[in-house]
Amino acid sequence: MQTIKGQFQYAASTECCAAVLHFTEQGLVQLYAEHDNALLYEATADSYKVAEVLPGLPADLLFETGAVFSPEDHNWRWPKSRRQNLTLKLETNKSLIVLSVIAVPILIWWLTTVGLPKAATALVPWIPVSVEESIGQQSMQVFDRTLLSDSELSPELQQSIRSQWQMAVDQLQLSSGYQYQLHFRASKRLGANAFALPGGYLTITDELVKRLETQPDAILAVLLHEVGHVEHRHGMTLAAQATASTIVMSVLFSDLEGITEAVLGTGTSLVQSAFSRDMERQADYFSTQSLLKLNKSPQAFVEAMQALTKGQPKEELLPWLEYLKSHPNTKERIEKATQQTQP
């Protein structure tokens, strides 16, 4: 028989009183009011349980009726509640806390850099090509309405680029089954640029064509880079990854607010731009390899890169800006392409 002081709280009522609890080894519990020793409550072992215990808080006894007994000493633990206190043990275990401090950042880093991209890449092949095509088509319509306007290039020039490109695509015998479409568009905001939408919608801007007008192979190299994005299904992978990481982050850090969320968000987008740099490298490689298959020199890709960066500030000025970029360093891209010219 053991006694313990505490407070007895009546069921569904704010009424309470100081009480002394007596309990036997069989789990029989008797509660007496402290001021007059009147019996307040009696319960057998199967009609109460110990509440989940939290660090620094008393281990409450919850009765079936809704009444509660709260021990005065918050370090007091009921003898038969070892299993109940497992969570408490974990949360106050110094070595587990130290382990968590080390493991949590590593796990989060692994999740964002390896786990999620891998999961996204594994998931994407399950998306049918027709779905991708409809996404590409819809996005193309949105771009046409917002960023792009009709091309001002002469029809002859368009035709010659198109036929050279078509020949290259036919010759490469791509097995993925995308119906490639090449669109010429003018866009002040995009400048000299080219992009690929899921499902094989390629767009090249007038500005870019004008810069590379005298080097048809360089235009082809740019277009093949974009084909590389489509073949590797990079657009879909990025979309799947963004959705997955939003869910993971909101589940993991549900009650972070404001600034903390902003910092985490920035961290995620840094990792994502690293991921997107890898995709660019893959597309670069696709382009140079395709040029080799077409019996052309990867030098064409180098020329395209040089023409594109003409008039832009030197990248070496702010090396840390590297981490914010979606594309790898131009110097690196040129070096890699040049390596492939001398097999």
């Binding site: 309470c16 660090p55 949590v104 869910i247 993971v248 902003a262």
Partner: protein
């Protein structure tokens, strides 16, 4: 109501006024938090429901009003169900809207219409799961009023160039707090629109002042860079950081003033009165240093900042309790029991991810 005989004058005379006590400790909560994060990652997010319950129970249990602590009654399974539903809906919507922007638009509209319901449901759930001295809180707001105060009034305020916003915010606070009940009684809220206008415009002037200071600082930093392009990106980066900082600080200024006014104008008839004397400077200081702490430790100081904030808010809050508070019963919850807590119906879940 369960009042025993004594005259109203004696009741007032024997009222007890005390400061809210918060006994949580940063180091202690750090252990809970970091272990919970680890378990959440290892269980692929499933444990997050248990983590939420543990965290809430810790903060409730360590907050004492008149010597009694609060109790959080929700079970992890209830939270988990809500989260699973929320994640499925979110994933479905984001996947489907990439297929069709039109679907995205329709989903956004449906979400907007469902929003007041979700908010009311969230308040109902959270208050029903909060008990003090074995009596649960309740929320009695309806979808219709929630629609008016959460969506319609703020929307109409656009046409007044947001000048009527303080009034709309007052209405919203009034809606939320006057619909909270405890022991069969509803809270009475007597807030004044003028106080909301005052707080709003003070916060606005602080925002404009800080905005000018940050703008000038970013411009100076930008122009001091050797290359104009680098200068622009540096200035934009600084302004991006400043935006969040200013927003948080101005929020603290407004929150401190409104909290004092709201608490000092709120009471539970014949039972309790709330008092708040939160110094704006204190709240701004704790908010600002908390932000720096979290940033400098890459999030590891988060548990300390949470405990610091809870301690500050508790210290600034007093409650006057009348003897009637000792004999309140809940007519609706005679059978409620923390022992046999069960998921009552399908909607007895917390849909929010937070």
């Amino acid at each position: 109501m369960d009042m025993h005989g004594s005259a109203a004058s004696t009741e007032v005379a024997s009222a007890r006024r005390s400061t809210v006590q918060f006994s949580g400790r940063g180091a202690e909560f750090f252990g809970i938090w970091i272990v919970n994060v680890l378990l959440t990652i290892v269980t692929l997010g499933i444990y997050s429901a248990w983590a939420k319950v543990r965290t809430t129970q810790y903060f409730y249990g360590h907050t004492k009003v008149d010597g009694h602590s609060f109790r959080y009654l929700a079970t992890p399974i209830q939270i988990l169900k809500g989260r699973i539903i929320a994640v499925i809906i979110f994933a479905l919507i984001s996947v489907l809207s990439t297929f069709s922007p039109l679907f995205g638009l329709a989903a956004a509209l449906v979400f907007l219409i469902a929003l007041p319901w979700l908010l009311v449901q969230g308040l109902k759930f959270n208050l029903r799961m909060t008990s003090y001295r074995n009596v649960r809180f309740g929320f009695h707001g309806t979808y219709g009023s929630a629609f008016i105060y959460y969506l319609l009034l703020p929307f109409l305020c656009i046409f007044t160039l947001y000048l009527a916003m303080p009034w709309a915010l007052k209405k919203l606070d009034h809606f939320v707090f006057s619909n909270i009940s405890f022991g069969g009684k509803k809270f009475e809220v007597n807030t004044k629109t003028s106080n909301y206008f005052k707080a709003f415009f003070i916060a606005l002037s602080v925002a404009i002042g800080l905005g000018i200071v940050c703008g000038v600082a970013a411009a100076i930093a930008g122009f001091s860079m050797p290359e104009p392009e680098a200068g622009v990106s540096l200035a934009i980066l600084l302004l991006y950081v400043a935006y969040f900082g200013v927003f948080m600080l101005v929020g603290a200024v407004y929150h401190a003033m409104i909290r004092n006014h709201l608490f000092n104008s709120t009471l539970l008839p014949d039972t309790a009165e709330l008092h708040s004397n939160l110094e704006t400077v204190d709240l701004v200081w704790v908010t600002f240093t908390n932000m720096l702490l979290v940033l400098c430790t890459l999030g590891l100081a988060y548990p300390w900042t949470k405990v610091r904030m809870a301690a500050l808010l508790a210290k600034a809050t007093e409650v006057t309790v009348y003897p009637a508070a000792d004999r309140l019963t809940d007519p609706l919850q005679q059978n409620s029991s923390a022992f046999a807590e069960q998921a009552a119906d399908l909607f007895d879940v917390d849909f929010s991810l937070t």
